[in-house]
């Protein structure tokens, strides 16, 4: 039993990372109907920025602590937001009315660019993410261990999700975002500045990915330029699982993804870990393409 509990904790902690990345995917898909292939690589940039800034701050302030963590998170999220803005303006905006395959290929191109330029700039070797806060056991119930950092990540994911949902549901900005995801043309007709809203959404999604990068650096402190590929894909599956475009769905999808991966690896076989995500995806797309919380959209003729 304690093994099962431990695996569940592992799954929830790991799933929180997927959830954060999935939130970004779902938001961007909501307004742009685009799978931002480069999202996983923005997560990687967040982690790398966190690495450099973290080391700098620790050296400068001779120590670690919550303030340092907050500082690193802030810088990472801002950098990623800026990066997201640049990517959206230069690469996705010109293709807004082009066939979807073009935008998808551009996204793939950006992803590859970030990965290989990352290898060139940061070096291909894996780097050890600095300990920004001290880890330690939070709870030890009969052998089942929950670590401080695992718990913090889980909390932050939920907090960010709630914050995001608040913005989307209760603010004017959020209303504008929802309008844009409903119809570009209609929202323009009622005076919503389309470009600005899209850019802002993109920036928010990217900032979340950046935060995920820093947090994963805390709990699994190895970062390298190709680290975003698999998590990016799996987070996409998580977003689809929860219903793409749906914010709580992304959280639930991420957690489910983390849990199922952990259970499969722990109880069945670790060899099929990566394949599981795709099997899940195909399964969901066949059974309920709208995902757990999504609404089925029928194609109007």
């Amino acid at each position: 039993m304690s093994e099962f509990l431990q695996q569940t904790i592992n799954g929830l902690a790991w799933g929180s990372i997927y959830a954060l990345i999935a939130l970004g995917y779902t938001m961007v898909y909501g307004v742009l109907r685009l799978i931002n292939f480069a999202h996983g690589d923005i997560y990687m940039i967040g982690a790398m920025v966190g690495y450099y800034v973290g080391r700098l701050l620790i050296q400068g302030f001779h120590g670690a602590g919550v303030l340092i963590l907050v500082g690193v998170l802030a810088v990472s999220m801002l950098t990623c937001a800026l990066l997201g803005f640049i990517i959206e303006r230069t690469a996705y905006k010109p293709l807004r009315n082009a066939p979807r395959i073009n935008a998808l290929i551009t996204a793939i191109g950006i992803s590859l660019f970030l990965e290989y330029a990352g290898q060139f700039v940061f070096g291909a070797d894996p780097k050890f993410f600095p300990s920004l806060i001290e880890d330690g056991v939070l709870l030890n119930l009969n052998g089942v261990i929950i670590n401080k950092i695992q718990f913090i990540i889980f909390l932050i994911s939920i907090a960010l999700m709630i914050g995001l949902r608040f913005i989307v549901m209760k603010t004017r900005l959020g209303k504008a975002m929802r309008a844009v995801s409903f119809s570009h043309t209609a929202s323009q007709l009622v005076g919503i500045p389309l470009d600005q809203i899209i850019s802002f959404t993109f920036m928010m999604g990217s900032a979340l990915a950046g935060a995920a990068g820093v947090l994963v650096g805390l709990s699994n402190p190895k970062v390298e330029p190709l680290m975003g590929i698999m998590p990016g894909l799996k987070a996409f599956v998580a977003a689809v699982l929860g219903g793409i475009g749906n914010i709580p769905g992304a959280l639930v999808g991420g957690l489910l993804m983390g849990l199922s991966e952990t259970y499969v690896v722990g109880y069945l076989s670790s060899t099929y870990r990566d394949a599981l995500a795709f099997v899940l995806l195909i399964f969901i797309l066949l059974i309920k393409p709208a995902g757990l919380f999504g609404k089925s959209v029928s194609e109007k003729v």
Partner: protein, 298 residues
Amino acid sequence: MILINPYILQIINLIGINAIMAVSLNLITGHTGQFSLGHAGFMALGAYASAAFTVYLHEPIHQLFPSLAPVYWDSFFFMTSLAFGGLVAAFAGVLVGVPTLRLRGDYLAIATLGLGEIIRVVVLNLDFVGGARGFTDIPEYSNFFWIYGLLIVVVICMARMVYSLKGKAFLAVREDEVAAQSVGIHTTQYKIIAFVVGSFWAGVGGGLFAHLNTYLHTNSFGFLKSVEFVVMVVLGGMGSITGALSAAALLTILPELLRIASEWRMIFYALLLIVMMIVWPQGLFGKRELKWRFKKLK
């Protein structure tokens, strides 16, 4: 052929194989508009199936039919091996085609990507085809004549399929599926045909690849490889067979030319993708073909 530098010959052969892959993907993605990011997976299936056929069934067939003339062994055996590879890949094409009928562009892309990964993981765990060690000692049956001979067959097959009256249906599916259905085209059927035929030839391409390099490893058939094929189709112009051929040649030679700047190679490649999509999305040939008994499409 002995007179040509083997390195150059290798590149020429690789161009041929990539061309087969590009033209077969062109049917699925370019003509029929089904965005597949898993083409390398079909190639892998064909490669491993064909290699396994050659390596494991060589002896049994020899035992069963001891009186087969050398002529058989020289040509027909290889052909059967390639056909086997193609059929395995085509079978997978059916399995993929049927369930993914309802998926829209982006979802189909990810689903096919996932399929490619699943295939790789499965093969990695099959020890009789080498697993993580790789499949070694495949006899070197491929050569210039086999590769380019089959390439010509593929091109003719594709051209006849698509540029016939019935073939317009593929294009109709690409342009507007709902409209196509409303004029009575069985879009389902055509999508499956596209996947099956496309995967068959991808499998043949894989078999040729296996018997050229004499060694197979799943790392050669990852997502990146599928992306390379997609780039070839798009760069050449979606739906243009000539385009696919030219782009395959270009994108096989380019990395060799850029060997000097090998660290920059992938970065340049990625930038090329991005810039091309924004500035020049119709690709080299757009929807046109070289006139050669084909009707020019507008």
